[in-house]
Symmetry: C2
Subunit: 330 residues, 2 copies
């Protein structure tokens, strides 16, 4: 965002609270900027809209590429908006950093939703954890909530680290899968299945319907063996066809049930508070780390020490002490 | 450790490499010390023995309290030593920080092993991640390897964060469970099942044998649905009775098979290198964080900001900036 395109703080805040999509978009760009002045203004805008956040249902959705996330979001989103809900879709696509290709592909797959006045689709820069632009999806989510969206859907690919990030910012985490797991599952990261509030088996259509039903039973049995969720929620398994738009309403009903349960038993609030605090701590660690790893001396020493640790010449702990001493001039 | 009890570097190194248990014990105490001079010496000792590490099989074992970890280790350990193996058992017990009670309890449950000249049992201070003494189990493991142990068994309780720590330092991660999961599983942390190379169902004796066999089939089916391990290893499910010492040999055979597989396909080496590097990075983060959170100004501001973030008065990101600015005087 060029400086001359920056609005005043009041203009951002008023525009967001009025649900003005254009202002919201520009506020998101501001939050995702790397310019210090932009970020300072973004901080203030966020502070001002903060009291107006927290009312949306926050949903994360993940799955390997090709499982049908975009198609599912198109079907699910249209179901929601036709039920009078306002929906924001944020996508974190690590691959988009380089090519931007998949986002374009997604836009064509979410054609209906992209034209829907009650939907708002926005790809989110995936960012990096160390030394670079950090991921701002959480801040973007808050802006969208302040703008009045009822449901925020955050999509990510289940093969990297972003799904842990997303799990840490949503109320409901959905894993989209395919029947005949073997091959397709290779890509999913370990630990993701256990984080899911629901496993939804997509492409349950045509010849795939029977295997999908069988897989549903298998996953149901498997999830029963998992540790219980602290919220008291028992992970569900559903089947759907994003293409044929079957099973979509059931997924939405399940989410509403979950929402009711965690609102009633107080878990929603305590969980969000805990998420907020760990997000604070993570940001501190990241800011510290980014100051640290930006130092030229640290960079030079890091390269040397990494080689030595790899070769087994220096114990990791000693190497860490040496690197930190370089920074603090000890 | 009092200063006067400190040995010379050469005495530590020679003693460790000669397999002298008394010197090993004192070196471990040195590594776990909070005294700066001790730690500097410990760093040097570690550096010197480093070329003699890496030859042991590193095994992690976890499970909820009462599942039978200590009893299992007694049976498993005796099986190993009677087969000519030298075994070191390190236990990380978060509860022991306060009471030290459970360690005592363990000692009585590992009576045979405690008297076994080929076994070495050592509780490891669980440490804390921020601002305190950090966990030194990895360094202790290296000392034990240099002292010539063939197998290092690291025990922890599967209800906190230590099992992720342990998973990050071993070659084989074993989850001990009970049949009739429901109740007992409540305590296990999410994500642990997916990290396990094997689930071993203990107390498969008496009336429990049948349910254990049934549980074995269930878990086998469930683990098949999990994402594949990058090593190519397929998680196994076994049953055993630590009390009756049945099924113990099978567990050991399984571990040997795993060891063979990952040695042959090169995963062992690449995994250990990756573990080493992330341990280096984690130590850097921890040292940075500990310098940071020890600052009096940071402490004071942290308290205020935590309340504000909790109350939703300040966005987490802004709070993080403020806290970091306090430290760097920005
Ligand atoms: N048969 C069938 N195909 C589907 C379904 N959902 C998505 N697809 C197809 O699967 C492919 C990948 O879908 P996409 O939504 O781009 O997956 P993503 O990579 O997870 O976003 C496309 O060719 C879709 O048309 C479904 O429910 N049934
Ligand atoms: N029946 C039976 N009891 C066992 C077995 N293993 C352990 N126990 C009992 O279970 C209780 C807890 O065992 P312990 O080894 O202390 O468990 P830990 O807390 O996981 O270390 C003790 O009373 C043991 O005697 C087993 O294989 N069969
Ligand atoms: Mg897509
Ligand atoms: Mg025990």
């Amino acid at each position: 965002m060029k400086r001359k395109n920056r609005l005043s703080k009041a203009a951002y805040v008023e525009g967001i609270l009025a649900g003005d999509r254009l202002v919201l978009s520009r506020a998101i760009t501001l939050v995702e900027s790397t310019n210090q002045a932009d970020l300072a203004l973004a901080d203030e805008v966020l502070s001002d809209v903060l009291p107006h956040t927290g009312k949306a249902m926050r949903v994360g959705i993940t799955g390997v590429p090709g499982v049908g996330k975009s198609t599912f979001i198109e079907a699910f989103g249209s179901h929601l908006t036709s039920n009078g809900q306002q929906l924001a879709v944020l996508t974190i696509d690590p691959s988009s950093q380089k090519t931007k290709g998949s986002i374009l592909g997604d836009k064509t797959r979410m054609e209906e939703l992209a034209r829907d006045p009650n939907a708002f689709i926005r790809p989110s820069a995936s960012g990096s954890t160390l030394g670079g632009v950090s991921n701002k999806t959480r801040e973007v989510m808050l802006l969208c909530e302040a703008a009045g969206f009822d449901v925020i859907l955050i999509e990510t690919v289940g093969v990297g680290q972003s799904e842990t990030l997303v799990h840490g910012m949503v109320d409901f985490f959905l894993l989209l899968m395919l029947a005949g797991a073997g091959d397709e599952l290779q890509g999913i990261k370990k630990g993701i299945m256990e984080m899911a509030h629901a496993v939804v088996i997509n492409k349950a259509d045509g010849d795939n319907l029977k295997p999908a039903k069988r897989a549903k039973v298998e996953y149901q049995n498997a999830l029963h063996l998992f540790p219980a969720d602290p919220s008291g929620w028992v992970p569900q398994v559903k089947i759907c066809s994003a293409r044929d738009k079957t099973g979509i309403a059931e997924v939405w009903e399940m989410m509403q049930k979950h929402s009711e349960q965690v609102t009633t038993n107080g878990f929603l609030q305590s969980n969000r508070q805990a998420q907020q605090l760990s997000w604070f701590k993570e940001n501190v660690q990241e800011l510290l780390g980014s100051k640290f790893y930006r130092s030229e001396q640290v960079k030079a020493e890091l390269e040397i020490l990494t080689q030595k640790v790899k070769a087994g010449e220096v114990p990791a702990l000693k190497a860490a002490h040496q690197l930190v001493d370089v920074f603090f001039g000890g």
